[in-house]
Amino acid sequence: MAKPAVLTHPESLKRPAGPSEYAKDPVNASMSKAEKIALYTKMARIRHFEQRCIRIYQQGKIGGFLHLYVGQEAVAAGTISLLGKHDHIITGYRDHGHGLMVGMGMNECMAELTGRVTGCSQGKGGSMHYFAPDKNYWGGHGIVGGQAPLGTGLAYAVKYMGLKGSCLAYMGDGAVNQGAVHEAYNLAALWDLPMIFVIENNGYSMGTSQERSTAHPGCLAKRAEGYGMAWDVINGHDVYEVRAKTAIALKRAHEESKPTVLEIFTYRYFGHSMADPDKTYRDKDEIKEYRDKKDPVLLFEQELLREKILTPELSQEINDAAMAEADKAAVFADESPDPTLADVTKHIYWEEDNRGPDTTSRGTIIFE
């Protein structure tokens, strides 16, 4: 395939990382010191939670797949920090960062990974299936791109009920070639849904680089033009830029009920999942380059140090606290009980879990 003549990437990504060009954007300038420190704290908490997960995984206590968010923290942090009462989110299987951002606790998140009854899904979902509907977080979905139509349904429901809200549906760059995503694009544009599709572009769909997987007109977001949708590209290493550009899309959703596709350029430091030895498709130098020069947590820390909001001591304190919290969560996850055999057949049907005089079904529904 001929490469596109012009790549439509964020301008700020073409220059070496330095002070954010978006610090003075109203959505950032209006943040209080406490809000900025809270945002940094949340990013640090995601980082330390994920790094603690690696150790537990290596101890053999986490089964199945574990997709880490390390390196991508600014995406969830920047976007979710803007959301209000009627804004909903849904994502794929790299879902821990979003969960911590909406306010899920480290304990319930860690215990889900070890399959405990104290986990957010009572040990029935695992790493890929975090849910917190009370916090407008609708998962946590294991099939690439399958969450995109669900997201349009959340946005549709918000609009149907006449609420000023939205849905942000996150996906990886590998998801953009799934038919379900294109069907969701079409419905969102056709029905003017208050929807933001967030492509977290970390460059690799599992072990296949974007060059080897995706035909595009300069960037992935630009495909939105085929549906008459607005789009933008964002430097995902700069949480201020993520906030500034997402705020525009959010305003479009809230005030015009129009969808947007955002492509946020980011990078993951670990393999696709812990099952990926990460030795075949990218150089270690590439990872080092990102870690050293574009780390989103480090860049935001430097930003706040420059703004004299953060001190090295306070930063140390925040990071120490996050590490201690993750350690405690690991102990909690280790010591919590498993679900019982009787729990295996619960939470399958609402009507079975809530039997009453109005129950609309009888008969045998769980079979021997």
């Binding site: 509907p133 349904g153 609402w350 529904i365």
Partner: protein
């Protein structure tokens, strides 16, 4: 009590539920302006307007997924599939999302969605449009499946499905759409998981669902008139949940069972029913259980042969006589 068609009964169920609950929304291909590909939703756009009755693009994975997402927030979508055969392009949404989300969230979420439409062969349209996926879908815990055979059951089951807080997949039959039957004027539901003895008998139990019930009732008349055999016909109505007690009670009475369905035989609904009977009523049986299913091939186009591929009265009678031998 009015005599109306199966199609009108489905429409009446939707009209009444649209009136009863403003969270109920109808969606699907051609359901609104076109008045429904099979006219099931005829007139509902005019009566309820475009917010409640919504035309979708030909995009099953997209709009079914959208309905499931909306149901998580409390909307009660009633989605029409022009054919259940088209569910195959939306399988991930129908199974993985609607069927699993409650479980994977540890009970935090439920999806009160109905997906309905015809699922039958016998209409001379070839294999891609003739699938009967009730057994495939009912094999997934988290999903409910019903197959009404009469106008009364069509209305009652669809109303129950719409009020149910779990995903309920209603499989209709285009050949039955013009069948007439008595339907009460007052509000009623047929709860899911309750079978119906459509004909009482003493010598043989026929268990069937969907249009196979109608075929079995005709066969029962032939068996009585020409062979002096008294046949009981149990209409499952609901596949999952399944009314095991009604099946077993009938077998305990007649001691012989013939299972009839329009599915292909391999892992059909009746494979489960046969297991049930041998597991819980083995000592009651005076003869081995027999099955009549569609001939095991993709649905043939040629109408003359397709009519023989599906269970017909002759084949049911023939097989019944074997069970009675």
């Amino acid at each position: 009590m009015a005599v109306i068609t199966y199609r009108e009964a489905l429409r009446a169920a939707m009209r009444e539920e649209l009136k009863r609950d403003d969270k109920v929304v109808l969606m699907g291909e051609e359901v609104a302006q076109f008045n429904g590909a099979y006219k099931v939703t005829e007139g509902l756009l005019k009566e309820f307007g475009p917010k409640r009755v919504v035309d979708t693009p030909i995009s099953e994975a997209g709009f079914i997924g959208l309905g499931i997402g909306a149901s998580m927030l409390g909307i009660r979508p009633v989605m029409e599939l022009m054919f259940w055969s088209f569910s195959y392009v939306a399988f991930d949404q129908i199974v993985n999302n609607a069927g699993n989300i409650r479980y994977m969230s540890g009970g935090l979420i439920n999806c009160p969605i109905v997906i309905r439409g015809p699922a039958n062969g016998g209409t001379n349209v070839g294999a891609t449009h003739s699938h009967t996926p009730e057994a495939i879908l009912a094999s997934h815990p988290g999903i409910k499946v019903v197959c009404p055979a009469t106008p009364y059951d069509a209305k009652g089951l669809l109303k129950a499905a719409i009020r149910d807080n779990d995903p309920v997949y209603v499989m209709e039959n285009t050949i039955l759409y013009n069948d007439k039957g008595e339907v009460p004027d007052e509000d009623y539901i047929v709860p899911l998981g309750v079978a119906d003895v459509k004909r009482e008998g003493a010598d043989l139990t026929i268990v069937a669902h969907g249009r196979a019930v109608i075929t079995s009732l005709k066969a029962a008349e032939v068996l009585e008139k020409e062979h002096g055999v008294s046949v009981e016909v149990v209409d499952l109505r609901s596949i999952r949940p399944l009314d095991e007690e009604t099946i077993l009670a009938s077998v305990r009475k007649t001691h012989r069972a013939l299972l009839v369905e329009e599915n292909k035989p391999f892992c059909g609904v009746d494979a489960q029913v046969a297991y049930l009977i041998q597991s819980k009523a083995f000592d009651e049986l005076d003869a081995p259980i027999h099955r009549v299913s569609s001939i095991d091939a993709p649905q043939i186009y040629c109408k003359r042969l397709e009519d023989q591929q599906l269970p017909d009265v002759n084949r049911v009678v023939r097989e019944a006589l074997k069970v009675l031998a």
